[in-house]
């Protein structure tokens, strides 16, 4: 009974989330819809980071670079190989999944600060790597699909026609990113509540106990990084579309990786619902901070202060806060069933 109610609660929550995502554009200006679409890309990448850091307990400062892998997969396949941008999204996920697997290999031997350093090195090296292989990546110029593959860039001309509907491009991108985000967060939810999620959390809670319960620690760490890479890759792929079909090495410098960590921590590690809030935080708070004062350095100080405030006032992150708000309701549901 308890279980049925919990699942019903999950379904109700999912339905509410879908409804919210569906109606939101009615109140958004075109420019705001574009910003929300950008937040949707972060949302997807942060879900992935959360699987590694929140659930499996492995720190990664390299997820911005995994986004870059997804982004360049989409840009290269669309520009040079004649694919429509939308079809490259799952492929970008798969290529970044392979990169995530590779990034996860050091986690077999390293932990804590050492793992942070190894993933940090990957993030720092990525822009240089992209410039180095300029034949493939266009070097520091990057790849501009708007110029190179306009006909295969969905919506680049201003509107998208879809089954009799006409959508403004930014609304389309908004629905695309958050639609994929919802589907992928649903998939993540299913993943973490079963056997796989228990194995992830076991590794996070106690490696000794996990190994002594028959869990192959190296395998699950690498698997977490690989799945996580898929999410980051899809987020990166969509990021090309929402950045006017343009990507360059400076799109994915180290601060993107750091921003994702901020989003995951502010959203509340280990909670999936909080990831959307974390994504909105890293999308909008820096802009608000910039509007408060334009004195040199001031926006960064405001952004930093906002992070610190969330961490002090809401130790479970925004997601934890959300959970606390809804707890009286859910507890009533549970106790009634007993």
């Amino acid at each position: 009974m308890n279980r049925v109610l919990r699942i019903a609660g999950g379904v109700a929550f999912a339905a509410a989330a879908v409804a919210l995502v569906l109606v939101l554009p009615h109140w958004l200006s075109d420019a705001k819809a574009a910003e929300f679409a950008r937040a949707g890309c972060f949302f997807i990448a942060i879900i992935g980071l959360n699987l590694v850091t929140g659930y499996t307990g492995q720190i990664s400062l390299g997820h911005g670079a995994l986004m870059a892998v997804g982004a360049y997969t989409t840009a290269i396949l669309t520009a040079d190989h004649g694919l429509r941008d939308l079809w490259t999204i799952p492929l970008a996920g798969l290529v970044a999944m392979a990169a995530g697997f590779a990034l996860g290999l050091p986690a077999r031997r390293l932990s804590g600060l050492y793992l942070a350093l190894a993933t940090f090195a990957f993030a720092v090296a990525m822009p240089a790597l992209l410039k180095r292989f300029s034949g493939l990546t266009g070097g520091s110029q990057g790849i501009n699909l708007f110029d190179e593959a306009l006909s295969r860039s969905t919506g680049a001309l201003g509107h998208v026609h879809l089954a009799g509907w006409t959508l403004a491009t930014n609304d389309f991108l908004y629905y695309l990113t958050w639609g994929i985000g919802l589907v992928l967060s649903g998939a993540a939810w299913l993943l973490v509540r079963g056997r796989l999620g228990r194995a992830f959390r076991a590794v996070r809670d106690s490696e000794v106990a996990a190994a002594s319960s028959g869990i192959n620690i190296s395998f699950y760490k690498t698997l977490a990084f690989a799945i996580s890479g898929f999410y980051a890759g899809v987020g990166g792929s969509l990021f090309v579309l929402v950045s006017n079909w343009f990507v360059s090495p400076s799109t994915f410098t180290f601060d993107k990786s750091l921003l994702l960590v901020v989003g995951a921590v502010v959203g509340g590690l280990g909670s999936l619902a909080g990831m959307a809030l974390g994504a909105l935080f890293i999308q909008f708070v820096p802009t608000w901070a910039a509007n408060l004062s334009s004195a040199p350095g001031a926006p960064s100080v405001f952004f930093g202060t906002a992070i610190v405030l969330v961490m002090i006032l809401l130790p479970g992150g925004l997601g934890g806060f959300l959970l606390k708000l809804t707890e009286p309701l859910t507890r009533r549901l549970y106790t009634r069933s007993e």
Partner: protein
């Protein structure tokens, strides 16, 4: 043939020889006691059997085949499960989830049956991080049983228990031995418990094995009494 055989095993940590040339065999179906003063090397021996440490020399075999080339998670799958002296649970997970993780490898018993067997029904949905120590120990036992072991290693299961609870634990260990068809290797400082349930007792002191035999005989062995009198826990030799 012994279900578990440890032969001439030595393990050093820097200058400390934690386990030195220890040999012992545990027969199928036995409850074997492993006793010795603090620092004698009992936990280290458990860590060697379960693959968390590798011996510097010697051989450890289970069902006649070596365990030394098997990683810890596969040793569980081969049928060796354990509990920990200082409790190693998954603190953010519920009692039920802890037991479900135990079933990860190949356990066949439903988790609910195990919770019932160990009297954990009432706390099934509680997070283990907030439970009393004695209850945590029982959750660990349930989790170990969930993997469907043939050999169960218990490291001071009576730690933190009161007198009556220790008696209950003794009965519980005998009961699960028959209902789960187990062989048990038991590390314990509570002599009453060990002498009450063990078929055979092995004694370590300063990493070396100093005695082995039926409980009553070991209890009278002057070498064993001497080892305990020389340590800071003399009360247990006579208890």
């Amino acid at each position: 043939m012994a279900l578990l055989s440890v032969e001439h095993v030595t393990k050093r940590f820097g200058g400390v020889v934690a386990v030195e040339d220890v040999s012992l065999g545990v027969e199928s179906g036995q409850i074997a006691g492993l006793i010795g003063p603090n620092g004698a090397g009992k936990t280290t021996l458990f860590n060697l059997i379960t693959g968390l440490y590798r011996p510097d020399s010697g051989e450890i075999a289970f069902e006649g085949e070596t365990l030394l080339r098997t990683p810890p998670h596969r040793i569980v799958r081969r049928g060796v499960a354990r509990t920990f002296q200082n409790v190693e649970l998954f603190p953010t997970m519920t009692v039920l989830e802890n037991v479900l993780v135990g079933r990860h490898s190949r356990g066949e018993r439903p988790a609910s049956e195990l919770l019932g067997e160990l009297g954990l029904d009432a706390v099934a949905q509680r997070r283990t991080g907030s439970l009393p120590f004695g209850t945590m120990k029982r959750v660990e036992l349930a989790r170990a049983l969930a993997s469907g072991p043939r050999l169960l290693l218990l490291d001071e299961p009576a730690g933190g228990l009161g007198h009556e609870e220790v008696d209950e634990l003794g009965a519980l260990i005998s009961r699960i031995r028959s209902s789960f068809d187990l062989t048990v290797l038991l590390v314990e400082h509570h002599m009453n418990l060990v002498m009450g349930v063990a078929d055979r007792v092995h004694v370590l002191d300063f990493g070396r094995k100093i005695a082995e035999g039926p409980p009553a005989e070991v209890q009278r062995n002057p070498v064993v009494i001497e080892a305990y009198l020389g340590s800071e826990r003399p009360q247990h030799a006579t208890a």
